[in-house]
């Protein structure tokens, strides 16, 4: 909808909350990359920065909630405007959760640097985080450009993240069986992989909101879960 409202202040309010979402999205993207980078290079300082940065993301979520509540009360948005406000609320929730996962990864990095490194795994974790960050970037681009096709593409790509997680799950299980001394590190690394996989799910949630915003309809739940670790017994 490119037409302007008769009440111009309404346009400014709607642009305002979207600008905050984009700012929040930028901070979350940086947190994902920072967490993955700190893990790969065993950089405690960077990890600490990511942990400290989460407060700003949380503050933005609070601010967005307040502004959307105010907008609902004062402007009674309808149709596309209503869907915009509803999706802003949900997306800010998704972003806040992704921020929490990044913070949790950074916390575990602090512990992992005190343990001997586990072969090759941090590179895979960094690739996985990079993929999730790219998906988030595309989901937010799809949001601003009202591009439902790009959003569908993002949802599809979450399969790859699920498969990466599957592979890592098996890998860590093998490491732990081979060398019980690596269990502590592998447990932390597994949580990091799981956190990254969950980030992918929240990015998918954002992409679904984009589809709802553009079409007014929820995407159908035909997506096949590629993460089968919760339903299968694995033996090393």
């Amino acid at each position: 909808m490119t037409e302007q409202h008769i009440a111009k202040v309404f346009d400014r309010d709607l642009e305002g909350i979207q600008a905050r979402i984009m700012k929040m999205g930028g901070l979350v993207e940086a947190a994902i990359l920072g967490a993955a980078q700190s893990l790969a290079s065993r950089d405690v300082e960077l990890a600490e920065k990511v942990r400290a940065g989460d407060a700003a993301i949380d503050d933005l979520e609070v601010l967005i909630n307040e502004e959307t509540a105010r907008l609902l009360a004062l402007r009674s948005p309808t149709a596309g405007d209503l869907r915009l406000v509803l999706t802003v609320m949900k997306i800010s929730g998704n972003l806040e959760r992704i921020g929490d996962y990044a913070k949790n990864i950074a916390k575990r990095t602090g512990v992992l640097t005190q343990l001997p490194p586990v072969n090759g795994s941090t590179a895979s974790l960094k690739r996985m985080a990079r993929e999730v960050e790219l998906m988030l970037k595309d989901a937010l681009d799809a949001y601003i450009q009202r591009d439902a096709e790009l959003a569908k593409d993002v949802i599809e790509r979450d399969r790859e993240v699920d498969q990466m997680y599957n592979a890592l799950f098996r890998e860590f299980l093998t490491f732990m069986m081979e060398d019980p001394r690596s269990i502590t590190a592998c447990m932390h690394l597994h949580f990091i992989a799981k956190n990254t996989e969950r980030m992918g799910d929240h990015v998918t949630g954002i992409a679904e909101q984009v589809i709802y915003l553009v079409t007014g309809e929820r995407p159908d739940e035909t997506r096949v879960k590629a993460d089968d670790t919760s339903v299968s017994v694995l033996e090393g």
């Binding site: 909808m1 037409e3 302007q4 409202h5 008769i6 009440a7 309404f10 009674s76 948005p77 309808t78 149709a79 596309g80 405007d81 209503l82 869907r83 007014g216 309809e217």
Partner: protein, 265 residues
């Protein structure tokens, strides 16, 4: 499964009360209503929305032939009430208006007592055989109009002495005293304060159990609050007609979207 079953049930119960087919209205040379087709359901509140001059009031007034009183106004097409064309020459407009009642923008009680305001219609239509029956109709109508408790001790007082909100509810009670089947309301709350508006809206919801209600309103929030079906008129066309929730969350026509989100006036 349960939800699907209940939905089907409500669909079955929906009976078309008024059916408009290819309706055109002309004021002299100007074409005010263009090719309107719509089915208005029984026991449902239908809201007509649209910018000023879009034809919604004109179309509403077609439904009980109020436009007959305007010389230059010409109506073409068919409007069927329970399957019978109300523009058939055999139809007596006075009888029709007893079946299709109307409430106007400004409360317009007769300069008579509260009692006589209500009793006037039933008297001329011969609905009561004696005083006792008439008393009963007056009480029942005032109760349905949600104003009985406020006026029962002063039925002889003039109707014009009531507050604006009370006067409007008195007019609604007067409109339903003749036992109409359809109630047309042309911006019934535009002269009322928010409290009186809420009372009238509550009343509209109660009336829905017995009547088909059609309301023209400039307040989109009011349309959203009181109606189950909404029709959007623009430049004499019926642009979109659908379930109210759908119209306000996901309208199909971009003109509807522009209007309800405040982008065109």
């Amino acid at each position: 499964m349960y939800d699907i079953a209940t939905t089907e049930k409500t669909v079955e119960q929906q009976v078309t009360k008024i059916s408009a087919r290819d309706v055109q209205v002309y004021y002299g040379e100007s074409h005010a209503i263009k090719d309107v087709n719509v089915d208005i359901e029984d026991k449902t509140v239908t809201a007509f929305i649209g910018p000023s001059g879009c034809g919604k009031s004109t179309f509403l007034r077609c439904l009980n032939r109020m436009n007959d009183t305007i010389d230059i106004c010409k109506v073409k097409g068919e409007i069927l009430l329970d399957g019978e064309n109300i523009y058939d020459p055999k139809v007596d407009p006075v009888q029709l208006r007893a079946k299709v009642g109307m409430v106007f923008q400004k409360p317009n009680p007769f300069p008579k007592s509260i009692y006589d305001n209500i009793a006037y219609g039933p008297r001329i239509h011969g609905l009561a055989r004696n005083k006792a029956e008439l008393d009963e109709i007056v009480e029942k109508s005032l109760r349905r109009g949600a104003i009985w408790n406020e006026v029962k001790d002063r039925l002889d007082a003039p109707g014009t002495g009531l507050s604006g909100g009370q006067q409007q509810r008195l007019c609604i009670a007067r409109a339903i005293a003749t036992e109409p089947e359809v109630l047309l309301m042309d911006e019934p709350c535009s002269a009322l304060d928010p409290i009186a508006t809420a009372q009238v809206e509550e009343l509209i919801d109660e009336l829905r159990q017995n009547y088909s209600v059609v309301i023209v309103t400039h307040s989109m929030q009011q349309a959203a609050r009181v109606s189950q079906k909404t029709a959007f008129f623009h430049l004499g066309n019926l642009v979109e007609f659908g379930e109210t929730g759908q119209i306000f969350t996901n309208p199909e026509d971009p003109r509807t979207e522009s209007y309800i989100t405040g982008r065109i006036g």
